[in-house]
């Protein structure tokens, strides 16, 4: 029993981080209808920024979000302007947009790999390897802090979407793009903003990732497949769905990992994806149409 609760705790802690990672992905999908396969590649970029901020300047990886988030926001705006703004206007090209993000992921992976080589890295602040013992439970501090950080950022995101006019416009666009445009929402501007926010969230995820996992440039495929699995489980474009998917699948993965070894923990996510496709292709909270 104690061991099971321990596993659930560890699963939830990772689930919180996955939820943060998935939030940007699902936000961009909700507004632009694009599955951003380069999302995790951008996370790795964020992780590299956090890594060098830590090793060169001693900046704590949690604090490094003050660098990674704005930096990735700007990078997101540039990428959007360069690639997505023009293709987005042309409906014929929209169908190949996913491929575009795939290509972008390759470019980022190759570039990072060329300059920094594919060796394992991670930031090692003092808490990364520390743990607290509460009663019979063992709580690794790094994962705990990462989860706390994720929750704070997700709450801020939620408040932003809920209580600001821009957030209102974003939610309207997610709900129905055409109708939002009709009532006067500048959907192109919203798309650009959301792409930037999504990238900023990827940056924050990168900061968290840098001390929770070890990372190397080509690891982003594993991340993106995990994120997409849980996003599909929750329902594409649903933020709440992504959160539920993240928490539940991470717990299952933690059990798989403890029973069959860590090699099989990612398999949980991929298998879950295929099972969902078989049973309920639109996901738990997804809209039936549109996919």
């Amino acid at each position: 029993m104690v061991q099971n609760i321990q596993i659930i705790i560890l699963g939830l802690a990772l689930g919180g981080v996955y939820a943060l990672m998935a939030s940007g992905l699902t936000l961009i999908f909700g507004v632009m209808g694009i599955v951003n396969l380069s999302h995790s590649a951008f996370m790795i970029v964020g992780a590299f920024i956090a890594f060098y901020a830590f090793t060169l300047f001693g900046i704590d990886p949690i604090l490094s979000i003050v660098i990674t988030m704005p930096a990735m926001f700007l990078l997101g705006i540039v990428v959007y302007k360069l690639i997505f703004a023009r293709s987005f206007a042309d409906p014929a090209k929209r169908s190949v947009m996913v491929l575009m993000t795939f290509a972008l992921a390759l470019v980022i992976e190759g570039t990072l790999g060329f300059f920094f080589s594919n060796i394992y890295r991670s930031t090692s602040p003092s808490y990364a390897s520390d743990a607290v013992i509460v009663g019979p439970f063992f709580l690794p501090l790094g994962q705990l802090y990462a989860m706390a950080m994720s929750i704070v950022i997700l709450l801020l995101l939620w408040a932003y979407l809920k209580y600001t006019w821009t957030g209102y416009a974003i939610r309207a666009t997610m709900h129905n793009r055409t109708a939002a445009e009709v009532v006067g929402v500048n959907v192109d501007r919203i798309s650009m903003l959301v792409f930037g926010i999504g990238m900023a969230l990827a940056g924050a995820s990168g900061s968290a990732l840098s001390f929770v996992f070890s990372f190397y440039p080509s690891k982003h495929w594993e991340f993106v497949a995990i994120l997409l699995s849980l996003v599909v489980l929750g329902g594409m474009g649903s933020l709440l769905g992504a959160l539920i998917g993240a928490l539940s699948l991470s717990v299952v993965a933690a059990f798989v990992s403890s029973n069959y070894g860590p090699t099989w923990s990612p398999v949980t996510f991929y298998l879950a994806l295929f099972i969902i496709l078989l049973v309920r292709p639109q996901g738990l909270l997804g809209k039936k149409s549109g996919l």
Binding site: F29, I34, V35, L37, I83, R86, S87, A92, K93, S95, V96, V98, L99, M100, F102, A103, L104, A105, L106, V107, I108, E109, G110, T111, L112, G113, F114, S117, N118, P217, W221, E222, V224, A225, L228, S229, V232, M236, T263, W264, P266, V267, F269, Y270, L271, L273, F274, L277, L278, P281, L291
Partner: protein, 337 residues
Amino acid sequence: MTQIDTDLAMDAAAEPAPNISRRVFITVLIAACVLFPLLQVFVGGMNYYLHMLLFLFMNIAIASNWNIIGGYTGYISLGHNVFFAIGGYAGAILFAYFGISPFIAFPICGIVTMLLGFLIGSITLRASGPTFIISSIALVLLVRILLENWEYIGGTNGISLELVDLPVEYVKFPFYYLMLLLAVGSVAMSMAIRRSKFGLGLRAISQDEIKAEVAGVPTRRYKVLAFGLSGLFIGMAGALWGYYLTYLSPVIFLSILVGAKFVLMTILGGRGTVSGPVVGAIVFILANEFFVSQFGATELNIAATGLALVVVLLFFPEGIIGTLKEKDRLPKFLDWD
């Protein structure tokens, strides 16, 4: 809708006047490829060119095969290297454990791949659009973990095969001719599908699946059929390629980059056309060879592949053949549709 449908119907109905230049061109091309190894026999020193050509034939077979699901049907699979791996490992198992040479067994490997394709497709094709693409990537990662942990076939270390017992001048000959056969077969199948009612149905699906369904196209069956068929030649190519390399490991077959190159070749040439994948494969192999010789097959190759895909998608989403066709500039001998 009527516009699209009549276009498609007219396309299919109006059998064009026999295209003589195309027939001559294809005949000469195949004849030249069949005769080329004679140079090795009488002149020698052609091993590099034999290697490049057989690699090219393989990629033509792969791109033409991918085109059936990715081009005609409009379902972009980024994970078709799974088929390549299945074929390769099927060949390796039959050879290493049952002593059946891949030269004989490759059709079986193709058929096994196709059957598994039907199975996989009947699951993943329940999704469309972005979710289908996601499932194709997840499939690569899943199969890779499975192969890496399957000790019977060597796990991460891979599996080694015996060399072909032929003198070094002739060792490439069987591969050369079999890959040529695969290329011709794959293109012939692509051509036959393109001109059939089945192909018409597939193209209707890629235009608008719901309307196709309403119009009486059995969309589900067609999609799964197309998905499986698009693994047939890729599986056979995998079996021969594994034997050619004499070594198979999950990394060789199941890097994301491998599947990405299948997609890039086809889109570069023009997806949904018969000659597109052929032209795409030729241009891509030449460009890639040049790039590798200049900069090495390193991380830069990944970045360059991605960059090439970005440029093609931004500026020539219809590919070489598609763009020429749009402008009515496509030479007749290259119009294989």
